[in-house]
Symmetry: C2
Subunit: 292 residues, 2 copies
């Protein structure tokens, strides 16, 4: 009996961290890949990826790592994507499908356009809405994407075959794949992810610089722990996201800051109806979202 | 063999909700109370409190409920404390110890001083740092205060016997009792609790008023759920807290808003070193606090 052909004969993952590593693990469990080649700058991490069985082999030289790959997933930090794309462009096989997992899509699409001179049909921008505050291949696990959403932002130039392959790849990880326009993706993520991270980082930073900070933090209750969890995320990664999605993030920061200034003024002027109305609107919206 | 005398012969709890109900349950489990009398405005809730065995009986008239009580715990919403204190003042037994659980202490102390003309020696202001987003007696449970901190803010006028009784009462619930000055308490809570709630409410309210809000919320990831959990808290309660702790909260809002404006400017002007430094400081402070 002949073995079924896997969906992807040779997969190259550039950046075998939480996301790249979990994708490799999930595709292996789904028997969807033949060989997995890892690449990236941290050789310790790549060695761990081989030891953990996440990749079959690795090459620290990305131009060699992508050779003869059917699919290349750029899972490098957002700030490194541009240089990775530039390094691999001349070495991709003619029918290789290229995708990425960047948290902002406009900047990646602009990078690709700049490097290739036009959007190549085999490029499918993607973004799995999944992750934890942890990073590195040691933190990766096969079920990370189960019941999570993966947003693809295919372009007018994107070939249907390339799009379908990447869609199928993510479906096999257990994710729900949805399509979105590039700008819309970046606006939605600025609102629900990038802005909250900026707020959490700023709050902890504000409190950490109070004179009596040790004492202040000692009396933080459970709500504070949940509220500030995302401030334990990788600073470099979130720096990259703020830089990459600057315009959309600034728009959300402007809206939020105006609302906060208005509420602050309501508190200052003892406008109790305004305070209560804002809190009631928020609770109603939050309760409509989650049952916890 | 004579039964051991309980710590409190008759306890009156005004406001048998999450906090008041959990206190009654914990003290019963510790065999620290003889009779527990409930009071408050919601008769359905009081009936449920009797049915659940949280209180022995109730009286919707607080002036009658406090009769002959050894300890009266005012666990009413912060905004109702003033009128409760006024209603019960003429009816407390001469040696009755009065305490409260308000999330802001300056306003309660000012209320007491206004009503009594001076701080009475039997008054011990308190604040258990515990709670969930739920409310009402149905949400109460005996272990709510275990390993949580209860802050007492005794005043120069407070009698040692009264202070010791309330301290012992909270210790018997499994809480760690600490003392703090009134103003310091209000500053610490403004920083770690009141400000985060205002930010969470404002964020959800900002997003809920976006044109495409349904779509925006659909793509919120796990971090968003944790970050906004406190926006499901009782709006009236948090309105009361913002009103009661106005000055300290405004001070924290001013600090936070200045830091957010500075970070926003760093993002706008692409000052990458400033963005990264702020995020790194915050992560370091958060990681020093919690291991999750």
């Amino acid at each position: 009996m002949a073995a079924t052909q896997p969906l992807i004969r040779r997969l190259c993952i550039i950046g075998v961290g939480l996301i790249g590593g979990s994708l490799a693990r999930a595709l292996r469990e789904a028997s969807a890949v033949g060989e997995v080649v890892g690449a990236g700058r941290g050789e310790d991490n790549l060695r761990a990826a081989v030891r953990l069985g996440v990749v079959d082999r690795y090459d620290t030289d990305v131009s060699r790592a992508v050779a003869d790959a059917d699919v290349v997933v750029v899972a490098a930090p957002l700030g490194a994507i541009s240089s990775v794309l530039r390094a691999i462009a001349p070495h991709l096989a003619p029918d290789c499908v290229l995708t990425d997992v960047g948290s902002a899509k406009g900047s990646v699409v602009a990078d690709v356009e700049r490097i290739y001179g036009a959007i190549p049909p085999h490029f499918v921008p993607g973004h799995p809405i999944a992750g934890t505050e942890k990073s590195g291949v040691e933190a990766s696990f096969a079920t990370l994407f189960q019941r999570r959403r993966v947003i693809l932002t295919p372009l007018a130039e994107t070939a249907v075959t390339a799009y379908r392959l990447i869609r199928r790849m993510w479906e096999l990880t257990g994710a729900e794949v949805v399509d979105m326009g590039v700008r819309h993706h970046d606006a939605v993520l600025a609102a629900t992810s990038h802005l909250p991270h900026v707020l959490a980082y700023t709050l902890v930073d504000t409190l950490a610089r109070l004179d009596d900070r040790a004492e202040v933090f000692r009396y933080a209750a459970g709500g504070f722990r949940d509220f500030t969890r995302i401030a334990s995320s990788d600073p470099q990664m979130w720096h990259d996201i703020c830089v990459a999605n600057r315009e959309q993030l600034l728009e959300m920061l402007t809206l939020f800051s105006a609302d906060l200034a208005q509420l602050t003024e309501a508190i200052r002027s003892d406008d109790r109806a305004a305070i209560l109305a804002a809190f009631q609107r928020a609770k109603r919206a939050r309760d409509n979202l989650y049952l916890d």
